[in-house]
């Protein structure tokens, strides 16, 4: 049998057997954890798979060692002088096998382990959060925050629909009159009202004017006033349409005010409600407008005005708040858990941010993310506490840079060419009931005067937020791209640059370390090859587990020693970011020495 075929056969059989054994160990020896798991079989399977991936380098080393030891022994060409041509051919074969094994190990480590860890963490967290959320629901109920209490109760029901305690709690809050009594505790800073929507923002002023005139002539005075008001909002003081738009808006409003002939009282009431909703909308009270039109739409789903202004008010509401029910099923799809970092404040201080879990909406390319357990603690430039707040759920979107203050635009532009920053909505409202909402709880220092806002802008490029989320996976499992970027700026966000740089080197060097181990294994294989007249014995199969264990210990020790050396390389501050390349260079030299040793091998025996 050819050399490579022998080795591949040994590797294949060994890997398959090891895979089955590792899964068996996972199923037999992993006991059910204290917390309730939704899918214990999957958890056990993943445990076995993790053992297999961790042992994979040792399994391949053993396969190469035994496979080549057998294969080399069967070869009839045994050169007795160093640097013979036959070893150049052997080196090619060994290198091909080693590269394949290295790639498989690298993929398993870089893709397999993060995927499994992510899935296991999700399972663990979902199970653990049930108890925590029940207690939070009770706690919020006790302090009178009924919207938040209902949110937690519904959340538990969403994860575990059979949870009787959560069902009772939710029913108790819903059926009681508590929700009616809640008042806004957060007084928001006033914002200039806008009635622009995504649909109308694409229209030009002449188009809007035409729409306004058409609606007026069709006696659709609500829309005539709306489009004319839009022209007033977006046109400049020098615009020629301004006077006409003002006149049209005024006429439409007068017509609306003058309507008094109704078929019956009901029609008059509906018209008055529509008008109230419309007034609230134009005054910037989107929340009030939304609930009026929502209520009207429930009763009169075919009314065009109601339908239209419901959509407009809903869209405008979503520029300030988000709906509580958007978050209910998000936790089980969370991509990141326990995310925390520091951000600079423009006044020279810093914000310490903590997020319990993040769900990214894939269909938006991660542009919309839901942040569970979002809290911020702010400090001034003298490290004195300013304020803190907490909200059970927040929604984050990417926000165009041009809509921000000049100071912030300049600050972001210095760091990146990005045009977007993370914009966080802190208040969530119920889709149906006006009195159910969740808002942040603030605490302020006596010396700190600030407007309370239900939004928060992170002063970082949007892409950096994704990188900061990835940090929560830890330096060993976060993506290599994020790790590379983060290692340079870790200390700006409250993490140690040394540790992340070392982890980066460790992970980049892993394939080279494996390659060295595989070449060393093939050198040992030549030196200990089965002699040509000796047949393979069944009892020798016992060598597999022994060598796998020894190889595992060797790889661990080798990597530990190298990780210490990498720290030393990092301490050479004069090389700055070249530490990665210097470390890789050291490994390449080692690899070259291994190659040299391999081609200098020879046989003690003489071909007769």
């Amino acid at each position: 049998m050819k050399l490579s075929k022998t080795v591949f056969l040994v590797l294949l059989i060994e890997t398959l057997v090891a895979f089955c054994l590792c899964l068996g160990v996972g199923f037999l020896f992993f006991e059910e954890p204290d917390w309730n798991l939704s899918n214990f079989t999957l958890y056990k399977f993943q445990s076995g798979l993790l053992i297999f991936i961790k042992l994979l380098p040792a399994i391949f080393i053993t396969g190469i060692l035994i496979g080549y030891s057998w294969g080399f022994g069967k070869q009839k060409n045994n050169p007795t002088h160093r640097f013979s041509d036959i070893f150049a051919i052997y080196l090619k074969k060994v290198l091909t096998t080693s590269l394949i094994c290295t790639s498989l190990c690298f993929i398993a480590t870089e893709v397999g382990i993060p995927l499994i860890s992510y899935s296991r963490t999700n399972m663990e967290e979902n199970s653990k959060n049930v108890e925590e959320y029940i207690s939070l629901a009770k706690k919020n109920l006790a302090i009178g925050d009924y919207g938040t209490a209902l949110f937690y109760a519904n959340y538990v029901i969403n994860i575990y629909p059979e949870s009787q305690e959560a069902i009772d709690l939710a029913r108790f809050i819903e059926e009681s009159q508590f929700l009616q009594r809640k008042e806004n505790s957060v007084v928001e800073k006033s914002e200039i009202p806008s009635i622009k929507t995504s649909k109308t923002s694409e229209m030009t002023i002449p188009e809007l004017m035409t729409m306004a005139q058409n609606c007026y002539s069709n006696e659709d005075f609500f829309n005539a006033h709306y489009y004319a008001s839009l022209v007033l909002e977006i046109s400049k003081s020098t615009d020629g349409n301004l006077a006409l738009a003002k006149q049209l808006a005024s006429d439409a409003w007068n017509k609306l005010s003058g309507i008094d002939a109704f078929e019956n009282d009901l029609s008059a009431q509906v018209f008055q409600r529509k008008k109230d909703g419309y007034v609230a909308l134009t005054a910037g009270d989107y929340s009030k407008a939304y609930y009026i039109f929502y209520d009207l739409l429930e009763k009169y789903p075919l009314d065009y005005d109601i339908k239209n202004f419901y959509e407009i008010s809903k869209e405008l509401l979503s520029t300030r708040y988000f709906f509580i029910d958007e978050t209910l099923d998000k936790q089980q799809f969370e991509k990141y858990r326990n995310v925390f970092f520091t951000l600079p404040r423009l006044d020279g201080g810093k914000d310490i941010i903590s997020i319990k879990g993040i769900t990214s909406i894939n269909s938006t390319g991660g542009r919309i993310q839901y942040l569970r357990g979002f809290s911020i603690v702010s400090y001034d430039k003298n490290d004195e506490w300013l304020m803190d707040f907490f909200v059970p759920y927040a929604k984050m979107c990417s926000y165009p840079l041009e809509n921000l203050s000049d100071e912030l635009i300049n600050y972001i532009s210095e760091q990146s060419k990005t045009r977007f920053v993370p914009y966080v909505f802190l208040k969530s409202v119920d889709r149906k009931y006006e009195n159910i909402f969740i808002e942040p709880r603030f605490e302020f220092s006596e010396n700190f005067n600030s407007d309370i806002s239900t939004t928060y802008i992170m002063p970082i490029p949007f892409e950096d937020f994704a990188m900061l989320c990835d940090v929560s996976h830890g330096p060993e499992t976060m993506s290599l791209v994020s790790l590379y970027k983060f290692s340079k700026v870790a200390s700006d966000y409250g993490y140690s640059s040394e540790i992340y740089s070392q982890a980066l080197i460790n992970r980049f060097s892993f394939p080279l370390i494996l390659l060295i181990c595989f070449i060393l294994a093939s050198i040992i294989a030549w030196n200990s090859r089965i002699l040509i007249d000796v047949s393979f014995k069944f009892s020798w199969l016992l060598l597999f587990p022994i060598i796998i264990t020894l190889a595992y210990v060797f790889v661990q020790c080798f990597r530990f020693l190298l990780s210490l050396i990498f720290y030393a390389v990092l301490s050479l501050t004069f090389i700055n970011h070249g530490a990665v390349f210097l470390s890789l260079f050291i490994l390449l030299v080692l690899l070259f020495l291994c190659f040299l040793r391999f081609v200098s091998l020879k046989s003690d025996s003489v071909n007769v």
């Binding site: 035994i66 030891s69 045994n78 925590e132 326990n338 925390f340 970092f341 520091t342 810093k350 310490i352 903590s354 997020i355 319990k356 569970r372 357990g373 809290s375 911020i376 603690v377 490290d383 506490w385 803190d388 907490f390 330096p475 200390s491 409250g494 993490y495 140690s496 040394e498 540790i499 040992i524 294989a525 030196n527 200990s528 090859r529 089965i530 002699l531 040509i532 007249d533 000796v534 020798w540 060598l543 022994i546 060598i547 595992y552 210990v553 661990q556 020790c557 530990f560 020693l561 210490l564 050396i565 720290y567 030393a568 301490s571 046989s603 003690d604 025996s605 003489v606 071909n607 007769v608």
Partner: protein, 319 residues
């Protein structure tokens, strides 16, 4: 004969190389574990290197002897000459090199004790980094000279502030930054190897000081370890022989470790005390017996194999 004498050269080279690697690793580990986030540090520390040098000599010399077995398997020559050289070197390790290394270590530790005392009292915690604590994460905004700190603690994702809290309430040892302790401190098999080396370094030190039964027990361990050479000619396949040697070497190490650090041997000793068998109620006597169980058969196997399989591990001429 020439090839057998060549073994002593290999031994010296291995001994030097292993000791230097050991000393270098010890120094790196010592410096890494005392890193402080955000502070610059010099990685070459002569005191750590010398301490590491002294610490590494016993293990390195035993490992160098062990390596000779592999060398002899790969380059087989006259088994009797090889055995004589091996025995001389093994006795040299046990009777000369290891005792000298302890004397060297004593001399170094007396000269560096002041420096290590100072470094143990130093606080390495700095402000501006997230650190893991028992129930979550902590972030210090300010660390004061009296070892108290202000900052934020994050427990189950809930952040809360604190002021003037002693660092000791978060971390037991202020002379090690937990950021690096968590990242560097070895776990699993490496942690076991390090604790094994530490334990037997201490035991060896007391054995050479205590003489008598202590020394005899330690010698029995050394002899049992060296007797694994007897397995070098068991199989026709060199890899098999190497594995036999390795497995028995590790097995002897592990059993000796268990004698000093396991509940099994505590209950065995208690059993003998209860039965009034005083001879066996001493840990060292048990160690001598267990090591003899390995030493005698392995030596006999080695001698028998050397007689019967004089051409073992040889590469035969290919027809």
């Amino acid at each position: 004969m020439k090839s057998s004498l060549y073994l002593s050269v290999i031994f010296i080279l291995c001994c030097v190389a292993f000791t230097l690697i050991g000393a270098f690793s010890f120094m790196l580990y010592d410096v890494c574990i005392h890193l402080s986030a955000g502070s610059e540090v010099s990685f070459f520390n002569i005191n750590s290197f010398l301490n590491g040098f002294a610490f590494s000599i016993p293990a390195s010399s035993v490992l160098a002897c062990f390596f000779l077995i592999f060398y002899a398997i790969r380059h087989p020559s006259n088994p009797w000459f090889n055995l004589i050289v091996y025995v001389i070197l093994a006795l040299l390790v046990l009777c000369v090199i290891i005792p000298l290394s302890y004397k060297f270590s004593n001399a170094i530790s007396s000269s560096t004790s002041e420096i290590s005392k100072e470094s143990k009292e130093e606080n390495l915690y700095t402000a501006g980094y997230f650190r893991k604590v028992s129930n979550g994460y902590v972030y210090f905004t300010q660390v004061y000279a009296d070892n108290t700190a202000d900052g934020v603690i994050i427990v189950k994702g809930n952040a809360s502030t604190f002021k003037n809290i002693p660092l000791k309430s978060f971390f037991d040892d202020l002379s090690e930054d937990s950021l690096f302790t968590v990242a560097i401190k070895p776990t699993g098999v490496i942690s076991f190897i390090i604790s094994f080396l530490q334990l037997f370094w201490e035991i060896g030190k007391y054995s050479y000081m205590g003489k008598g039964l202590y020394l005899l027990a330690f010698f029995s361990f050394g002899l049992a370890l060296h007797s694994v050479v007897g397995l070098a000619r068991c199989s026709k396949w060199r890899l098999c022989n190497m594995c036999f040697v390795f497995v028995f070497f590790l097995l002897i190490c592990y059993l000796n470790y268990l004698i000093y650090d396991s509940k099994i041997f505590v209950s065995i000793i208690r059993f003998f005390i209860d039965k009034n068998i005083e001879v066996l109620s001493d840990r060292r006597i048990l160690q001598i017996i267990i090591n003899s169980i390995f030493f005698i058969p392995l030596t006999v196997i080695g001698i028998v194999n050397a007689i019967q399989k004089s051409d073992a591990n040889q590469e035969l001429a290919v027809e």
